[in-house]
């Protein structure tokens, strides 16, 4: 039996589709502008869009392939990035040549109606895409939306720069086109560099793997109910991280606790491994080898209510129902401890207790137990032996 939780389509998948849709529109229009106008500004702008594209495409690819469990996502994203970079570099070279020609000889810009309107349309589309990024992706994935948004907003700067030259040329100062293209080209280089950093990020994925491992070890294993955390896969697609982890939890843990656990683990990962496009947490419920139980004790072996002075922790072998281990803990706290019962429950949790049997329990202790995934059994039995009998009957048969 297993429970899993993942980044949903509506949270990330759908926004990625839409943003890529915007990207396609931007690419399409930029290419037309580059081809039709022969203006180095528009060509450099087109190069910029090509430089920006892979980050956004890799997000989409990362999500859909990550969901399917494909292994070689990083390699694919490098290929995509390099391809787009190459096209962009080629365009940029073309722009540089044209600008040079335009400055020393004659600028060759044509189709002013395209040169002047397309940048404006690009700006509008980018604005819409940017707002979409900021508003439609849930706050918890803000780092992902930041990355996407920051790159898309690059088109704003580029288009904004690209329109200046042609405007000047339109009003008669022909040299403005190639001259201003220098700025557009320079900006394009900035975006080229940023995308090259994507490759560096992909190549450095080992470092991320260690972060993931550390989270799995420290944070998750620290929750006593979770044993055996395994990193099923971890990948990087462009700037984004994809990961899947699985863990086992004892079958004795209640289902709603397991739900809460999966939510906790997913949230923790989102926070640590940013920015992400796909995460999946799987919790397998297994029949454990042992069951650890705590019984609140008063004097001797009489069961009392919780919080109590002492607690006995008994570990049963799950198959033979024999007692493997027993220990008694005194519940004593510092005088400045304001909520001792919460600390007592934490103590039990760290001792891997899954069930607490007691005559009665305070409200706070009950809440704390729930939040540490410990089941509370209210028992009528007076004697420790009877209570342990009751528990074995209930859980181990």
């Amino acid at each position: 039996m297993e429970i899993s939780r993942e980044t949903s389509f509506s949270e990330i998948g759908y926004p990625l589709l839409i943003i890529n849709g915007f990207l396609i529109a931007l690419l399409f229009l930029s290419i037309i502008a580059a081809l039709e106008t022969s203006s180095p500004n528009l060509i450099a702008n087109c190069a910029t869009v090509f430089f920006i594209a892979p980050t956004i495409i890799n997000g989409l690819v990362g999500y859909f392939l990550g969901r399917k469990g494909v292994k070689r996502i990083s390699e694919l994203s490098i290929v995509i990035t390099v391809l787009f970079l190459l096209v962009g570099v080629f365009l940029l070279y073309d722009a540089v040549m044209l600008a040079y020609q335009g400055i020393i000889r004659k600028p060759k810009i044509t189709h002013f109606e395209i040169a002047l309107t397309i940048p404006i349309i690009l700006i509008i589309i980018t604005y819409i895409a940017s707002e979409f990024c900021e508003k439609k992706i849930p706050e918890i994935y803000w780092r992902t939306s930041r990355v996407l948004g920051d790159r898309i907003r690059g088109v704003l700067s580029s288009a904004g720069l690209a329109i200046i030259g042609p405007t000047g040329a339109f009003f008669g100062v022909m040299k403005m086109d190639p001259l201003f293209a220098l700025f557009t080209i320079l900006y394009s280089l900035v975006e080229l560099w940023r995308t090259a950093e994507d490759i560096k990020f992909i190549l450095g994925k080992e470092r991320l793997l260690s972060v993931l491992r550390e989270t799995a070890e420290r944070t998750f294993k620290a929750v006593p109910v979770i044993h055996d955390v395994k990193i099923d896969s971890m990948n990087v697609s462009g700037r984004f991280v994809i990961a899947q982890i699985s863990s086992t939890v004892s079958k004795f843990v209640e289902e709603e606790y397991v739900e809460a656990l999966s939510s906790f683990m997913l949230t923790e990962l989102i926070n640590r491994l940013a920015p992400i496009v796909y995460l999946r947490v799987v919790i397998k419920l297994e029949k454990p080898k042992a069951l650890t139980v705590a019984v609140a004790l008063g004097d001797g072996e009489i069961v009392s209510k919780f919080p109590s002075k002492r607690v006995i922790i008994v570990t049963f072998d799950a198959s033979t129902r024999e007692i493997k281990e027993e220990k008694i803990i005194e519940l004593k706290f510092d005088e400045y401890e304001k909520v001792p019962e919460a600390k007592a429950i934490e103590n039990l949790a760290r001792n891997r207790v899954l069930v607490l049997a007691t005559k009665d329990i305070s409200e706070i202790a009950k809440n704390a137990a729930q939040n540490w995934f410990i089941r509370v059994i209210k028992t009528e039995k007076e004697n420790l032996k009877d209570v342990l009998e009751e528990i074995t009957q209930r859980f181990l048969s």
């Binding site: 604005y127 940017s130 900021e134 930041r146 700067s157 923790e268 926070n271 304001k338 934490e346 939040n371």
Partner: protein, 321 residues
């Protein structure tokens, strides 16, 4: 007349911080605050720097426009007020600010300062001089102060003037934002006493904002503790001190310097760790998690709501839910 004079409902105020181009971060100064104040009551709001309590005070009076949520004054939503209705609200709800040195116009006489409000609201006053003198006497000043300028007065006296100015409009609700923090202890004591007397005499409702728990306790019927934009506990003042429920309130009370060496020398406090998180991108879960000695796994994943756990006692903590 409704029982609750002021009601805030999921009030939020976010301040945009421009990054570059179109991208914005938001400082979540007030991040969803809900409460009610009864007529004649004093609700104390306690928080440290960065808690958002000052922004809350101003947003409640619509001196700053809320980002979302609502404020009801005497049953009506103040966000819908316009023109005449808004003016009336401004008359009925007043504010006294922290810094007496900068809240009084240095170029106006006391007479003008106090009459400015009534004049703006076209309040009919038969004898303006007598009106102002009566107000001055109510706050412990004298007739001879009428035509003097603010710089001629001490800090305590300036604060009295500021209070007189607020009273000139005969308000029902007054928000006091650290009204005595800049004053010496002895002056503070007399201002606080005066504020209490005025409340009784005129049936005023107060919201008393301060970082000084001792002062807040003296003045308030109920207290709300605020942490990084949200209320974490609301309780009766005495009850809160006897039995704080939220771990942050416990931390505040432990840290309180009490003018009684028997207590300070005897008590041991837990080591206080960490600092409040940045109010821009708060991690999910309870915002007090990193500093909470009772943190449980769920605290990191889900943020607890402010719920009523006993009569007149609300706490936002998974220990109580």
């Amino acid at each position: 007349m409704t029982k609750y004079l002021v009601e805030a409902m999921n009030l939020k105020k976010y301040f945009p911080v421009r990054r570059f181009l179109l991208s914005k971060d938001f400082v979540k100064a007030v991040d969803g605050v809900t409460f009610k104040i009864r007529k004649g009551e004093c609700l104390g709001v306690v928080g440290e720097s960065g808690s958002g309590k000052t922004t809350l005070g101003r947003t409640i009076l619509r001196l700053i426009e809320p980002t979302s949520g609502d404020v009801l004054f005497d049953g009506e939503s103040i966000l819908k007020f316009k023109g005449e209705k808004l003016r009336e609200f401004r008359r009925r709800a007043q504010m006294v600010f922290q810094d007496p040195f900068s809240s009084l116009d240095p170029r106006m006489t006391i007479m003008d300062i106090i009459l400015e409000g009534p004049r703006t609201h076209n309040m009919p006053i038969k004898d303006p001089e007598e009106f102002v003198v009566k107000l001055l006497e109510t706050v412990g000043l004298k007739r001879e102060h009428l035509y003097r300028y603010p710089h001629e007065f001490s800090g305590g006296q300036k604060q009295r003037i500021a209070i007189a100015r607020a009273l000139a409009l005969n308000p029902e609700f007054v928000v006091l934002d650290e009204p005595t923090s800049a004053l010496d202890v002895s002056v503070q004591a007399s201002i606080l006493n005066m504020l209490k007397d005025l409340q009784r005499k005129f049936g005023l409702t107060y919201m008393f904002i301060s970082h000084d728990l001792a002062v807040v306790k003296y003045m308030s019927d109920r207290i709300a503790t605020m942490y990084v934009g949200k209320f974490v506990e609301i309780a009766d003042a005495d009850k809160m001190f006897e039995e704080p429920l939220h771990p942050y309130t416990m931390m505040l009370l432990d840290a309180l310097p009490v003018p009684n060496p028997k207590i300070t020398r005897a008590r041991k406090r837990r080591e206080i760790i960490g600092e409040p998180p940045s109010p821009i991108h708060l991690p999910p879960g309870c915002r007090f998690y990193p500093r909470c000695p009772y943190a449980m796994p769920i605290c990191k994943a889900k943020e607890p709501e402010l719920v009523e756990v006993e009569r007149d006692r609300e706490v936002a903590c998974w220990l109580y839910q």
